[in-house]
Symmetry: C2
């Protein structure tokens, strides 16, 4: 079968790292006999917004809703367009309307990447953060009362549904079960947030019964962030709500020194809709246009996309190539102490793929 991929470079360095992502995907596809077709789209970007007054065409769902996956660069340019317009008009729209209820990110210490943590070596840190991606703290229910007076207040609801919580927990338990350590950690804060968080705990206990082979534990988010720094080797699969997962999936990559190279998947596991694969870094207006952006996050996201499509070998060949590339100082980009530019680094990974 031929996979059809929607390619959306978006803004800023998204446009610069995308060609390298595609280069590596093509190299891996060729080596592993995978057939891929790329369709390019210019929406979900500041340029598009400037011309059309909206982030995406009215028929965006028809345009990209039937693709096997969406390969996404970066969106947002705060100086030109407010975040809530650009992000809620594209990225968060995808998550909700394509029911991408899993946000998945690896936390992995890679060779050649200086970790801010003392005495940690590649292999020591290797886990996944599984984040609920559609509800929880990111609800739009709430409002303001008594505006502009001393009595003013705002409220916003966190919403956890049985459907929403159970399906993300099922995904996380299944992932844990597929890994050698079979260990799941759940993040809550039930001693302070006394209604929603105990509900999540309750559903974890119920789900755990269906996965007797998985060892599980839970931590309050405050001490869990501390343990990411103090004991990153404790973790295997960590699952949390929309907000807690968001925090942990930035903190985790930071602990491995890799925020600039971390990949992510916004996944609809049932494949009723396409999933989105994108680097964790944003559009980075400050370095855009210079050709120095690190393309590894984009490339690694491509590897996750191949794995999601079922092309495990091709996906793994990309991750291996990334590791070999990062191990060579001269092939790394400037942010990692190397002297390669975006293209040179992308070409190096493509050459390493086997």
């Amino acid at each position: 079968k031929q996979y059809r991929i929607a390619v959306i470079p978006g803004d800023g360095i998204g446009k610069e790292v995308m060609p390298e992502g595609l280069r590596v995907l093509e190299a891996a596809a060729k080596k592993h006999g995978v057939s891929v077709h790329f369709d390019h789209f210019d929406f979900s970007s500041w340029d598009y917004y400037e011309k059309h007054g909206q982030m995406m065409p009215d028929d965006w769902k028809e345009k990209i809703g039937k693709h096997d996956a969406i390969y996404f660069g970066a969106v947002g340019w705060p100086a030109k367009i407010p975040d809530h317009v650009s992000l809620w008009g594209s990225l968060i729209k995808f998550r909700r309307e394509f029911d991408q209820y899993v946000n998945l990110r690896p936390v992995r210490l890679m060779p050649g990447v200086p970790s801010p943590l003392a005495n940690r070596k590649p292999g020591d840190i290797d886990f996944w953060v599984v984040r609920e991606n559609t509800e929880g703290e990111y609800s739009s229910v709430g409002g303001r009362m008594f505006p502009d007076t001393d009595r003013e207040f705002v409220t916003q609801q966190t919403v956890m549904t049985r459907t929403g919580v159970d399906r993300i927990l099922k995904f996380a338990f299944e992932l844990a079960q597929s890994r050698p350590k079979k260990h799941l950690t759940s993040a809550t804060k039930s001693n302070g947030i006394s209604i929603t968080m105990p509900y999540w705990d309750e559903r974890v206990e119920a789900m755990a019964k269906k996965f007797p082979g998985v060892k599980w534990d839970k931590y309050h988010i405050d001490i869990l962030t501390a343990n990411f720094v103090l004991h990153p080797d404790w973790f295997d699969v960590v699952v949390g709500s929309n907000l807690f997962g968001d925090i942990l999936s930035d903190l985790g990559p930071a602990c491995t020194g890799t925020i600039g190279i971390a990949p992510s998947g916004n996944i609809n596991p049932e494949r009723n809709f396409p999933s989105v694969f994108e680097p964790v870094h944003g559009s980075a207006p400050d370095i855009a246009g210079q050709g120095i952006a690190n393309p590894i996050g984009m490339i690694w996201s491509g590897a996750m996309m191949f794995e999601h499509l079922g092309e495990k070998e091709a996906g793994k060949s990309i991750v291996d190539a990334i590791e070999r590339t990062l191990a060579e100082r001269t092939l790394r980009t400037k942010d990692l102490g190397g002297n390669a530019d975006t293209t040179a680094c992308g070409k190096a990974v493509a050459d390493m793929v086997d």
Copy 2:
């Protein structure tokens, strides 16, 4: 004037570190001519709960509400009594009923304490986390619908009032203004939590106008946790909501290796009610009864209490004594690679006070 301090050791190691805290407070009081009287209370503990079926006597407010401050050990013994009974029945009750709307914690890299971060030395990291302590995400507004069905859901509201947000921001800006760097950082997540968090941002902008001498910036909580690990030297005063402050004030001490020795104040700045000073560590049932607990968190909390009472010199003399004690391996407790027990470490600090 003579200060009247309510002393509540609470549970577990709270009872073991309290005598050392008092020893050092007495030593500092003597050297600096401060007059203190201590009243001891056995409530807010598992022992009390076992006898009386509640955490505190009905007239707890009369008993301790007129003291100048409350010196608190630790509460909680999850195996015996659920957290929501012990914590909401004491600690969180104090915060709300004594209007302790500031939770204040130092993040400071101390000599002799191994930091999990590579290449950081004492002096590199030295900032305060200021946490809103009465409202925000820890509201009790919410509930469950359609229980035990597939349609089940729970909601919980975050509540931010103008009064609540403005007063914590004012405290944080004043603290920033009193420090050499005069720098304030605000934690929000306005690109995801789109009602309450933008309101906090709005109030920061309004408050900043009253403090033209203070430089300020803001970060989304996800990247802010990353920056605690990557750039802890960037911060001076960091202010956040009840939840975000909770997270940052565990993560910060973890980055400096000091969760076991970190102090905290639950402060009512207007002094209409007593403030509570307590170590960040809990009752630690696993090591309780062995006499090996590290008393530094308790002692340092005493220093914060003296500063709050206006006895700056006495407070500073304690912090200096802590630094000198920690610098000596033999005077540190086991958790910091030393061989002193709780009492020996406490006596060492008391001797160092000058």
